[in-house]
């Protein structure tokens, strides 16, 4: 009986105490027609050793690729200390800190996390995490609609430069509440929101305007202008940001003349492994005035009976377990342990370290772009400033090229054709601080070979 500690004697004693003869009797309130599930299709149990052998064999099938893809998930170096400390049993196997006095470790860590997110974003009040970047945006949209008292509209402007998956998730989550999502067009030369075209939206009321930075194409948006424009319309401004980029980019709390109202995004770059897509975490912060509209857990500092500082879950009146059908969100379990890891990551990196990582990503991506665009027929789709991702137009469909690259051990980027029909030959490439010049050279040589059949290269790299 794996994981069950009871000995036969103890089981007997327990049955005797209860006053039944057999375990079965404990289930005598279940209608007999419902009892006796057919489990033949479930395999027999295996010891940890055999499961380990099975899963190691499975893992071995997942052949590693040198990663030049981003598109929402980024391969950064994760200091060993992050997960060695995060997986300590006291963090790993605790529940949500309902009993504050027995959870000061997690609570203080969340308070520190909130502070760090607040610092990165320039907004006062962060929560303890949401599921991921996409759901964080969905929650931000719901929150903005609730919080915007000036404008009654349920329309929200989401430009095409927002991650397409985020857009899809927002749609799944918010449409049942009658919220309408409106596109804003791109400026096709620089790959960011077409500020000139915004004029045509000015006669419509919006609850909120979503502003990504950097955007899905890696380009930098004119965030100051967009924020002021949104506010001018009475809309709330929602920033969606890569938190590592915020170590060098201007914080959303300072965009335009007033700063955004809500900021959210994907926390994965802060020390979370790629892991095929999860678990990651969403982060969110807002101005103090909107804090009662925040979804999710929030930790506050307070004092105990003796006046000593302590930490506790606060503003619980927003949450589902108190407010039930009127809660700010249905979220209960969040991605706490990921936020623990991110807290440790941010503490280890500090602002100087994180800025170095961000700058190194930028530098590496410039090197990558330079090497790849030196290949005949490969050129940048846009020419505006970028952070660490760039769309490159290829002379061939991106999907095909990616397949060949993968066969040679390289994940060459993301095929934008998967989301934008007109961009079928565009590859979104990314280099983080992890990519070496040798790897970039290898990628360039491979691409040269694939596109132009330079046999010498094929031989050396194949």
């Amino acid at each position: 009986m794996p994981f069950v500690p009871h000995t036969p004697e103890e089981i007997q004693e327990m049955l005797d105490t209860i006053g039944v003869e057999r375990l079965d009797e404990l289930f005598d309130e279940i209608p007999s027609a419902l009892l006796g599930a057919q489990l033949d299709a479930i395999p027999e149990g295996m010891g940890e050793m055999e499961v380990a052998q099975l899963m190691r064999a499975r893992a071995a099938q997942d052949v590693p690729l040198t990663c030049f893809a981003g598109a929402g998930a980024y391969e950064h170096h994760i200091p060993a200390a992050v997960w060695e400390v995060t997986t300590r049993g006291e963090f790993y196997s605790a529940y949500t800190p309902y009993q504050a006095e027995a959870s000061q470790g997690t609570l203080q860590q969340i308070y520190e996390f909130q502070t760090m997110i607040s610092e990165l974003t320039g907004l006062y009040a962060a929560n303890a995490s949401l599921y991921d970047g996409a759901t964080a945006l969905a929650e931000a949209v719901l929150m903005a609609v609730r919080a915007n008292r000036k404008v009654k509209s349920k329309r929200v402007l989401i430009p095409r430069s927002v991650h397409p998956r985020y857009r899809q998730v927002v749609e799944t989550v918010v449409t049942a509440q009658g919220i309408e999502l409106i596109d804003a067009p791109l400026d096709d030369t620089v790959g960011r929101v077409d500020a000139e075209a915004l004029g045509r939206f000015e006669d419509q009321p919006f609850a909120a305007v979503v502003i990504p930075q950097p955007n899905f194409f890696g380009a930098l948006e004119e965030v100051d202008r967009l924020t002021d424009w949104a506010h001018g319309l009475g809309a709330l401004a929602i920033g969606v940001c890569n938190p590592v980029a915020l170590a060098v980019l201007s914080p959303p709390g300072e965009w335009g003349s007033a700063g955004v109202d809500i900021v959210c995004g994907e926390g994965q770059p802060l020390g979370i492994p790629l892991a095929s897509g999860g678990p990651y975490f969403g982060y969110m912060a807002t101005r103090k005035e909107h804090v009662r509209q925040l979804p999710g857990r929030v930790v506050g500092r307070t004092v105990d009976l003796d006046g000593r500082t302590g930490f506790t879950l606060t503003l619980q009146a927003r949450e589902q377990h108190i407010r039930r059908s009127k809660a700010t969100s249905n979220i209960c379990t969040n991605q706490g342990l990921m936020a623990t890891a991110a807290t440790i990551y941010m503490a280890l990196l500090g602002s100087e370290g994180l800025a170095r990582v961000a700058a190194m990503c930028h530098e590496r991506t410039r090197e990558l772009v330079q090497r790849l665009t030196a290949i005949d027929g490969v050129e940048r789709l846009y020419d505006g400033p970028f952070f660490h991702e760039v769309p490159l137009r290829l002379p061939r469909p991106a999907a095909e090229v990616l397949k060949q690259l993968a066969a040679h051990g390289v994940l060459g980027g993301y095929d934008l054709g998967r989301d934008y029909a007109e961009l079928g030959s565009v590859l979104l490439v990314c280099a983080t601080e992890m990519r070496t010049s040798a790897e970039i050279d290898h990628y360039a040589a491979l691409l040269q070979e694939i596109l132009h059949g330079d046999a010498a290269v094929a031989r050396s790299s194949g």
Partner: protein
């Protein structure tokens, strides 16, 4: 002491960033921040020491008995953690081709299949990231179903008054009106009230079974028949599946859609708040609407992510990528260790422990909420009498339990039972721990009889004494400031 209190300007964990200072000069000035964020400036040792010491201030399964009702705080196998963290699993980019992820996809596919078997559903999807998100997906599927049939007058979701808060919150998020159904004196749904509530406006009902009051809903088949008759669908909140795992299946009970909290029944860690993972399962009726992505099997045992092209009627995506895959791998490892027999034993022994603990506390004179009923894997003690006679309430008992080395049960939930302690011992705790818990409860009552104020002052032995929650909410202090 906050990490900020040990921060000093110019200090760093040098080995953790590039030694050479890279240049970000090519980023135009107007996009760059003017002053650095105030992240802590600390050494690697300081970070490790600070968070190691912080961790020691937590109660956790690995350190304490943690009978938090409705949360299934059972042992999280270390093997599952280690295997989910194999380098190839951790290193794979979510957009890497399926050809380079057959290992992880095979695990997920098998998990889908096996969860379908054990719940009696036809198909399972794994991309939802917690129970509540499973509910969102489930209710969205109910909505999609009615809409596909043009049945647009269904505007209400029924929810028992004892339901978990996520149920009504979810129904609202999905654009439904919530209608509460009272719980009968025996702990089951009040059938008359149900009948009154049902109607052409009923989109569906959300039920937890065993319910949040810790008993099995005996008339579940009848409820299913009546709801279905009224044209509504049944949603199963799987938070309490641990009590019946491998014994009875929601699919057989008549549920159309379910979620599972894998971080409860399948023993993945709760991480001080999350991440969890919430599988959703459906019967044929709702199959087309399952959320994306899901893993499909092709000829030759090849696996791939199914997309919009495969499932055009899907309610869509609920996350950027495929969900909390690392957690799903842990659930998979756990499920394979349990196997067929192990699952049934989860139900057997979590139920045995709960009934034993209930009987012992009863024998010691505590009032249980439904003395005539079998406990499921959890049960409720009501401290109403103690609160009235001794002035020592459920919260006081909870805090004093912490002093005695036991995490408190869930307090004041469900709300319909006054001074409730919802107690869930799980199958992985030994009789010795259960007996120790009984002793602690008895001791606290004795203390309360002798000196109630002493109990009300608890805890005494933890890093802090009782915290001022009112002040926390009133004088909001949500982040460190330079001079605070």
């Amino acid at each position: 002491m906050l990490i900020y209190d040990i921060s000093r300007p110019g200090r760093r964990a040098f080995a953790q960033a590039p030694y050479r200072e890279p240049s970000a000069d090519s980023l135009p000035r107007r996009f760059r921040r003017q002053s650095p964020p105030r992240l802590p400036q600390v050494s690697e040792l300081e970070v490790v020491r600070h968070y190691t010491r912080l961790s020691q201030k937590n109660f956790s399964i690995d350190t304490h008995f943690y009978p938090l009702g409705s949360c299934t705080m059972k042992y999280n196998p270390r093997g599952a953690n280690q295997l989910a963290m194999l380098p190839q699993f951790l290193g794979r980019h979510p957009l890497a081709p399926d050809t380079h992820g057959q290992g992880v996809l095979a695990c997920l596919y098998e998990l889908q299949q096996e969860l379908a078997v054990v719940t009696g559903m036809d198909e399972v999807a794994l991309s939802v990231m917690a129970g509540a998100q499973g509910e969102l997906a489930g209710v969205a599927m109910i909505r999609a179903y009615h809409e596909a049939r043009g049945d647009t007058a269904r505007t209400e979701i029924l929810v028992p008054d004892a339901a978990h808060g996520t149920n009504p919150a979810t129904a609202t998020m999905c654009g439904y009106k919530v209608r509460e159904i009272p719980t009968g004196a025996d702990g089951d749904v009040d059938m008359a009230a149900l009948d009154t509530a049902l109607g052409p406006q009923t989109a569906g009902i959300m039920l937890t079974n065993p319910s949040t009051v810790g008993v099995f809903e005996r008339r579940i088949q009848e409820i299913a028949a009546r709801v279905h008759e009224a044209g509504g669908l049944l949603y199963y909140d799987g938070a309490n599946l641990n009590a019946i795992l491998g014994k009875a299946r929601p699919g057989d009970m008549g549920f159309d859609v379910i979620h599972l909290n894998l971080h409860k029944t399948f023993s993945t860690p709760h991480g001080g708040g999350g991440p969890g993972a919430g599988a959703v399962g459906v019967n044929q009726r709702l199959l087309p609407y399952l959320p994306l992505p899901r893993v499909g099997q092709e000829k030759g045992d090849r696996y791939r992510w199914l997309t919009e092209a495969d499932c055009p009627e899907s309610i869509g995506r609920l996350g950027t990528f495929g969900g909390n895959i690392g957690i799903l791998l842990r659930a998979y490892a756990y499920l394979r260790m349990l196997g067929r027999d192990g699952m049934v034993r989860v139900a057997d022994y979590s139920t045995l422990s709960a009934n034993y603990l209930m009987k012992r506390l009863q024998a010691e004179g505590f009032t249980v909420a439904y003395p005539e009923r079998r406990a499921s894997h959890e049960f409720i003690v009501s401290l109403k009498k103690e609160a009235k006679e001794l002035g020592v309430n459920a919260m006081d008992f909870a805090k004093r339990l912490l002093d005695l080395g036991y995490h408190a049960p869930t307090t004041y939930f469900p709300l319909l039972i006054p001074e409730a302690l919802l107690i869930e011992p799980t199958e992985t705790e030994s009789k010795r721990e259960l007996d120790g818990f009984v002793e602690a409860m008895v001791r606290i009552r004795k203390e309360a009889e002798e000196d109630p104020d002493a109990v009300k002052g608890a805890p005494y032995r933890l890093p802090v004494r009782r915290l001022d929650d009112v002040r926390a909410a009133r004088d909001l202090d949500l982040r460190w400031e330079e001079h605070s």
